[in-house]
């Protein structure tokens, strides 16, 4: 029941929290920073481990943070607590703090959440929802919650694509910004490719390309590979044949290579499970760093994107076609 928690009480608790932080600061004061409302929807199990990720994220994107912990259950129930994420920048005597509201709900209670969260949004600032629960976009009871957001961020890693899922992401696009961290994980790959074609010697031979091959391991095509295929389809000349090639098994499906070939042009990136990498273009070779990115690094990038991502939208459209 939504009546189990009252937004006014939470806001009052927040006020008291700031007063108490100020009193503890011994005269140096506390700097309150807020650039957006970030609503994180996460399974209750394992949510504690999210603390460090959120703390790192707050330093770059200070927010009013609403963490919605969802546990299984058919009986609607909501509980809440407020806390602060604080840090002392190096060389500073002043703490910087962001406020955090934690709401725990059962799946059945999700329908009661939007009314509470709506009252908790930081006024006049954008609202971003990061859902760590797979398939949330497809659940009708969550629609009012998603309606609150200016941007919705999902993560398809580890799940097979379905046309329904892609369609759900696409359906959300006209109204708000949508992002998938599987797309964000491609930034380094795409950047490397783009950088090599900044060289006029390579760019002038782009028309020679005939094939683009994307290699992956695993029992299903990872979304990342599908997005990469969609992106290449939207950027390469139409005559280039794009294929997805499975080369082996892996407990978690992963993208490992992309190869562009044709005429005198050969471009290849390979990333090993150890993250060792090799990039070759024609006769040149390099070993660019390709570290696995943490959630906070991916989210930092996504929260920095505040306008429509035309490249993602085009890739998504083609990915849907390819998936069909």
């Amino acid at each position: 029941m939504a009546s189990a928690i009252r937004p006014e009480r939470i806001l009052k608790e927040l006020d008291q929290l700031w007063v108490s932080l100020g009193q503890q600061s011994e005269g140096t004061g506390v700097l309150r920073a807020c650039a957006l409302t970030l609503i994180v929807i996460t399974p209750d199990e394992g949510a504690d481990a999210l603390g460090e990720t959120l703390a790192k994220l707050m330093r770059e994107h200070p927010s009013r943070l609403v963490v919605l912990r969802v546990r299984p259950g058919s009986e609607a129930s909501l509980t809440e607590r407020v806390l602060a994420q604080c840090w002392m920048p190096f060389g500073s005597r002043q703490q910087i703090c962001c406020e955090q509201i934690e709401i725990t709900t059962t799946e059945a209670g999700l329908k009661d959440v939007p009314a509470v969260v709506r009252a908790l949004e930081a006024p006049d600032l954008p609202v971003v929802i990061w859902t760590r629960i797979h398939g949330l976009l497809l659940r009708t009871e969550c629609a009012p919650l998603l309606q609150l957001a200016d941007k919705v961020i999902v993560d398809s890693q580890g799940y097979p694509h379905t046309r329904e899922k892609l369609a759900a992401i696409r359906a959300t696009l006209p109204a708000r910004l949508v992002a998938d961290l599987e797309w964000t994980r491609l930034t380094r790959w795409r950047h490397m490719l783009s950088q090599e074609f900044d060289n006029p010697a390579h760019l002038s031979r782009l028309h020679e390309l005939q094939t683009a091959t994307i290699g992956y391991d695993g029992s299903f095509v990872p979304m990342r590979a599908l997005y990469l295929a969609g992106w290449l389809r939207s950027t390469l000349p139409p005559h280039v044949a794009i294929t997805l090639e499975r080369s082996g098994d892996a407990p978690t499906p992963r993208l490992h290579t992309v190869t562009l070939d044709g005429g005198s042009l050969h471009f290849h990136i390979n990333v090993e499970p150890t993250r060792a990498s090799e990039m070759r273009i024609c006769s040149q070779q390099a070993h660019p760093p390709m570290p696995a990115l943490n959630d906070d690094e991916l989210m930092r990038e996504e929260l920095g994107v505040t306008s429509r991502d035309a490249a993602f939208e085009a890739s998504l459209a083609y990915a849907e076609e390819i998936a069909a």
Binding site: L31, A33, M58, R59, E60, H61, P62, W87, P89, F90, G91, S92, Q94, I96, T187, R188, R190, H191, M192, L193, S194, Q195, E196, F197, D198, N199, P200, A201, H202, L203, S204, L206, T235, L236, M279, I281, Q284, A286, H287, P288, P289, E301, V305, S307, D309, A310, A311
Partner: protein, 518 residues
């Protein structure tokens, strides 16, 4: 124009450097080791440099490519700021690092350089693009430029894949030691390079917070209407260092605070604070406005110098239990030195926006602490409604609004305003609203050299000085230098660890102002 790269994604990829070579003259010097190579490595770490990017270092010392690479590796490890050192990134970066020894006055050096650039075009596909960086002593600038010109290196022939290769020149400050020598240097530069290809670096302009002044002023609508003589009472610009000359006594003896800081860095900051809004954030538009502002600075008459400029030199002192030498006791400094380790100037800007508003600018060594900031002091409220309700309230209690733009060390913006003190009476007290640029957002800011190197490599001169700006700055300080050169000062006149000579306070007192303590 060639075809566009279809893979570009400006929403997520930062501005990219196209394939090119960078030639550093003075490759074994302090600036190269401490700033340039660490900044370039960091750009490589962030994948801002193309894979064939090549650096050719030059100095007189004989050295192999490998020895130079090892030397630079040590420098990067030592001087890299807020950044990890990654061996695999270094390996790829070092593969593009080359070294050519040679005397800067030897024409053969430039022939070998031309051959090396041609070789790199073939092996590393640098597209015949090259940036020449003068990181040598200023006395070598003219011979290097002449050598480049004699070898025809200021131009590159178009190739099949690159129809418009570029050649650019970066000149480090000082741009001359006075107006006449800056013009001489300019003549030498223009004999070889077109102005569009010349990048005069003032690293203060590359600082994130100096750029943020432009964002603050011209990205917001609420500040600019207050940004003129009707609301601003005066402006104070401070660049204080707590350290002394630290082994650079010989250099500093020739330079002094007015030349070393005010003529270039602080006048550029002043111009950024006071310039008119440009129509576009684009090199010509921004630099035109800066230049116009610098040309509007009132040129002092010799008789005005004593009341508008203060020269100081630090003496010995015990600070925190440590005995610190005076400037005249520093290595390489004459015991009778007349060099200014402190300079403060009252500037006026003769235009409609700023007529009558004093801009106080000061810079010094061995001051109380290291800080660079700009304080804009607004006029007090026209009528003091609350004066009677705060018995005993002095001028400090009714402190005017103050906007502080901090450049270093804690970059940010603070606004001081009056607020009612809690309680039943109507007592006012100043409170500060702070925005801390780096720490609030926790992001690593690029160093000034990272920013400026990318700008030069991508052909963006917005944050670089132009010769008319350099000349206008020299003109603004020229009368002061003239008077100071013909006056003997009773030095030292301030103690290390203080905020400068008493005469500096007197200069502000003439207009009823006091230096704030930053």
């Amino acid at each position: 124009m060639g075809p566009n790269n279809p893979f570009h994604d400006p929403l997520r990829f930062e501005r990219q450097v196209k394939p090119c070579s960078l030639v550093i003259f003075g490759a074994n010097g302090d600036l190269t080791k401490r700033k340039l190579i660490p900044a370039l490595y960091r750009l490589a770490f962030e994948r801002r440099l193309p894979s064939g990017f090549s650096i050719i270092g030059n100095s007189r010392t004989e050295m192999s490519d490998d020895a130079y690479r090892e030397k630079m590796r040590q420098s990067v490890i030592q001087f890299l700021e807020e950044s990890p050192f990654d061996e695999s990134v270094w390996r790829d970066f070092a593969a593009g690092l080359f070294y050519i020894s040679g005397d800067l006055r030897d024409p053969n050096l430039y022939s070998r350089l031309a051959a090396k650039l041609a070789e790199l075009d073939q092996t590393r596909l640098t597209g015949s693009n090259a940036l020449f960086y003068l990181s040598t002593q200023p006395s070598h600038y003219a011979p290097v430029i002449e050598g480049l010109g004699a070898a025809g290196l200021q131009h590159a022939a178009p190739t099949a894949t690159n129809p418009s290769p570029w050649r650019r020149l970066v000149v480090e400050k000082p741009f001359g030691h006075d107006l006449a020598s800056s013009r001489e240097l300019d003549t030498a530069v223009h004999r070889v390079f077109h102005e569009d290809a010349v990048y005069r670096i003032d690293h203060y302009l590359g600082k994130e917070t100096v750029q943020n002044i432009l964002a603050f002023r011209f990205g917001n609508g609420i500040f600019e209407p207050l940004w003129d003589r009707r609301y601003v009472n005066h402006v104070q610009i401070t660049a204080a260092e707590s350290i002394g000359v630290e082994g650079r006594g010989g250099y500093y003896e020739e330079a002094g605070a007015l030349r070393d800081m005010i003529q270039n860095h602080l006048l550029q900051i002043l111009a950024t604070v006071a310039m008119e809004p440009p129509a576009l954030f684009e090199a010509t538009a921004v630099r035109d406005e800066r230049a116009k502002l610098l040309r509007s600075i009132r040129i002092l008459k010799p008789g005005e110098v004593p009341t508008h400029a203060v020269k100081g030199q630090y003496g010995p002192a015990d600070v925190g239990g440590q005995s610190l030498p005076g400037f005249r006791q520093e290595q390489g400094v004459s015991p009778n030195s007349q060099t200014d380790t402190y300079a403060a100037v009252t500037f006026f800007i003769d235009n409609w926006r700023w007529a009558g508003v004093p801009f106080y600018v000061r810079s010094g060594k061995r001051l109380a602490k290291r800080v660079t900031d700009i304080a804009i002091s607004f006029n007090p409220a026209p009528h003091r409604v609350f004066a009677d309700s705060a018995p005993g309230a002095g001028p400090a209690d009714l402190a005017p609004n103050l906007l502080i733009l901090r450049v270093q060390p804690e970059e940010g913006i603070s606004l001081r305003f009056l607020s009612k003190q809690p309680g039943s009476g109507m007592q006012l007290r100043p409170v500060s609203m702070d925005f801390k640029y780096g720490s609030s957002f926790g992001m690593r800011s690029p160093t000034a050299y990272e920013t400026l190197l990318v700008d030069a490599l991508t052909g963006d001169a917005t944050l670089y000085s132009r010769q008319d700006m350099v000349e206008a700055s020299w003109q603004a300080v020229h009368p002061i230098l003239e008077v100071w050169n013909n006056t003997t000062f009773d030095f030292p006149n301030y103690a290390s660890g203080s905020w400068g000579p008493a005469s500096s306070d007197d200069m502000l007192a003439l207009r009823g102002h006091t230096w704030r303590v930053p």
